[in-house]
């Protein structure tokens, strides 16, 4: 005898506490088991790419901030590098160092949000607030530097909007000193918690081959076991001057490429970022940060694809210049957008609760997915 069963379609989002913004997931459920996931995006579409065509090159910088709003410095960094390559200008050494410090601080801040919200998704609410407490200090550092806490417009083409605040170096050192024990506390509280490991290890396993086929980048790709980091493999700015490791997933708690690995790679990356910041602070040269800013930005006819390692993966800008003051076309390769494709592949056969665990480990920012 067989009982007739029906599949249920469950709409998760766009108003759902764990979809990290306005993502809508259409889940097809057999009981509580997922048979299909269809992500629906576009609720935060702001026509960034089209908008770029009517603005001058410097005017675009504040709009890049609004893509991955948790890693605005990284977005500016990537865009500015692309335009500088197009213009063929060199920036002073000090500017490069400050940019790297900012990008790495931003990476820590962004990973803190990723880790904290991941904990909250799994049900541990306290680590979330601990992470935000530490992120707050990074935002304070940004605030004394450029006055803004989330959307900075700090990294300009050929330079920076302001030099560092006189207290910045001291406060950053203080932050690093106090952040290290907090990271240890976070590991004790969440990373090596038995329940947390049970929930995330062996959940949403992403084999390396699938990851490469889907074009996955960033911590997700590294968690699947490939040592691929644009800061080392396609180095830009002054990253080749620093000594740091690229953490990869090793399947310590389950299988290589599971959600726990994706989570833990982010924790390890924060430690590496701290190393980079420490070295950069020691080596930072003197100089004028606004000296190389060109008066009139009018790149020659041509095109460029330039990419940087953002906290979520490879952020690429493809810019076509027609020789005028505004770009003919700007195309952004957004890491979250590419990484989100994998949802259906990862979720099939898991439970509803695992969708949350997997989505959190993919770590998307809807501002960047929809642009």
């Amino acid at each position: 005898m067989s009982v007739r069963t029906e599949e249920m379609v469950l709409n998760m989002g766009p108003q759902h506490p764990s979809t990290h913004g306005v993502l809508r997931l259409e889940l097809t459920l057999d009981g509580e088991i997922i048979t299909k996931v269809v992500p629906h995006i576009g609720y935060l579409h702001r026509c960034f790419e089209k908008h770029c065509e009517v603005m001058t090159y410097p005017q675009i910088i504040p709009y890049t901030d609004r893509m991955d709003y948790l890693a605005a410095m990284g977005n500016e960094f990537g865009y500015v590098i692309a335009v500088e390559k197009l213009l063929g200008i060199q920036v002073p050494e000090r500017v490069e160092y400050i940019r790297v410090i900012m990008a790495e601080l931003q990476r820590i801040a962004s990973h803190l949000v990723a880790i904290g919200t991941y904990g909250a998704d799994i049900g541990a609410f306290t680590p979330f607030l601990y992470c935000f407490r530490d992120r707050e200090r990074i935002l304070n550092l940004f605030e004394i530097t450029c006055g803004a806490r989330l959307l900075y417009n700090y990294i300009w083409i050929g330079g920076l909007s302001h030099d560092l605040h006189p207290d910045f170096i001291r406060l950053t050192k203080e932050f690093i000193r106090e952040f290290k024990p907090n990271l240890k506390e976070l590991n004790n509280l969440l990373t090596f918690n038995k329940i947390f490991i049970d929930r995330t290890a062996n959940v949403g396993i992403l084999p390396l081959e699938t990851a490469i086929n889907f074009g996955i980048t960033g911590p997700m790709l590294r968690a699947s076991g490939l040592k691929w980091d644009l800061r080392k493999d396609d180095t830009y700015s002054v990253y080749n001057k620093f000594d740091f490791n690229i953490p990869v997933g090793d399947g310590r708690m389950g299988t290589v490429g599971d959600s726990w690995d994706r989570y833990f790679v982010r924790v390890l990356e924060m430690e590496e970022s701290l190393k980079i910041i420490e070295q950069a602070i020691e080596q930072i040269p003197d100089g004028d940060v606004t000296a190389a800013i060109p008066k009139r930005i009018k790149p020659p006819v041509g095109h460029i694809y330039s990419r940087v390692e953002n906290p979520r993966g490879e952020l690429g800008y493809f810019i076509i210049s027609d020789g005028s003051t505004s770009p003919f076309r700007v195309k952004v390769r957004a890491p979250s957008f590419v990484n989100l494709q994998i949802m259906d592949e990862l979720c099939r056969g898991h439970l509803v609760a695992d969708v949350i665990a997997i989505l959190g480990s993919v770590d998307i920012v809807l501002g960047e997915v929809d642009r």
């Binding site: 759902h16 541990a124 306290t126 329940i195 929930r199 509803v352 609760a353």
Partner: protein, 357 residues
């Protein structure tokens, strides 16, 4: 007992019955719920490196009063496709289930609604009503998240009642009584007479029992956490997955009823734990009333100790909630059926053998 006191005072069965029935609600459950919600928020706040409510009253002590006033004023929303009858009954039933348990809980040797012989059995039976209420709420809400939450809740509570009952059974077997009043009276005087330390008798049995009582206590604590849907077992209302589970569709006072039931339940299970293992209302260190020869002081002291112990276990529940992540449905079932139930069975057998010595 308190009923006789009111009966002698008024001479009417109806008045004294009503007073005794309402006394736990107004003297205890409502103030406790107000206090517990504030405590929860303060505990959470301080654990998370923040202050918690600070604005209403000194350090926010009136915050929950303000919240209740807000909830009363709120519109009571019933969606078009809800099953109206069940939707309205569900919160009442859930609250009734947890409230009815207070009828037999002895707050002190004189503050006791009804001393029935099957006290612990009655508590387990009436708290089963809560499941019915939750299932009704989930079904009548006509919402997929609510339904999933309700289904999970039913499975969870049914699974975890078994280890609870097995441990209760071992205590009942040992003491030979199901009356909560007798259970409390048995563990009289000092704390080494509590069941967790092997009970009041002082021969070899007592020392053999201690490790198994500890195991039993841990099992029953885990199971009761699951029965009142607290973290790490708050799967029915897992906010990150199911929005808020079976009470997603509720607003205003009906939501407050669920909320009240949750906190009443938290105290009810803590009270049962205290009665079974930690001497009920008995003082751990003897009574001041006995030393000073003031007999009327003793019940007050007993009341204090009972509340103190109960709130301590409620505090532990909160502590766990803000520390641990949440289990997944299948892991939850595994924990109960593969670990807790077999261990509880073996524990029951061993305690049975020891009691024969």
């Amino acid at each position: 007992m308190i009923y006789d006191f009111f009966y002698n005072l008024t001479g009417s069965v109806i008045i004294s019955g009503t007073v005794v029935a309402l006394l736990p609600l107004f003297a205890f459950i409502l103030p406790f719920a107000l206090f517990a919600v504030l405590l929860e928020r303060k505990v959470a706040g301080h654990m998370q490196d923040r202050l918690g409510p600070m604005r209403v009253g000194y350090h926010g002590i009136l915050q929950t009063v303000a919240d209740i006033i807000k909830l009363i004023q709120k519109e009571d929303i019933i969606a078009k496709d809800n099953d109206k009858l069940f939707f309205n009954i569900a919160p009442v039933l859930t609250f009734a289930g947890s409230y009815a348990a207070f009828a037999v809980i002895p707050f002190s040797s004189i503050f006791l609604g009804a001393d029935i012989d099957l006290g612990i059995f009655y508590v387990i039976a009436v708290t089963g009503l809560v499941v019915a209420g939750i299932l009704m709420a989930g079904w009548a809400s006509n919402n997929k998240y609510s339904l999933l939450g309700a289904m999970r809740s039913a499975a969870q509570i049914v699974s975890y009642e078994i280890p609870t009952i097995l441990i209760v059974l071992s205590i009942v077997m040992l003491t030979g009584t199901m009356s909560l009043y007798d259970l409390s009276e048995n563990q009289t005087a000092y704390f080494w007479n509590w069941n967790i330390f092997g009970g009041p008798n002082l021969d070899i049995q007592k020392f053999l029992l201690i490790p198994f009582m500890l195991i039993g206590f841990i099992i029953i604590y885990i199971s009761t956490l699951a029965e009142v849907n607290r973290t790490p077992f708050d799967i029915p209302e897992a906010e990150s997955e199911l929005v808020s589970g079976y009470h997603t569709e509720y607003s205003g006072m009906k939501f407050a009823m669920f909320f009240l039931a949750e906190y009443a339940n938290m105290f009810a299970v803590s009270a049962i734990l205290v009665i079974l293992f930690f001497g009920g209302y008995q003082s751990p260190l003897g009574y001041l009333g006995n030393t000073l020869n003031i007999p009327w002081l003793i019940p007050i002291e007993q009341f204090f100790w009972f509340i103190f112990k109960g709130i301590f276990f409620v505090f532990v529940q909160m502590w766990l909630r803000w520390t641990l992540p949440r289990l997944r449905v299948d892991q939850l079932m595994t924990a109960s059926w593969k670990y807790l139930i077999p261990i509880a069975f073996v524990n029951l057998l061993i305690i049975g053998v020891i009691s024969l010595i």
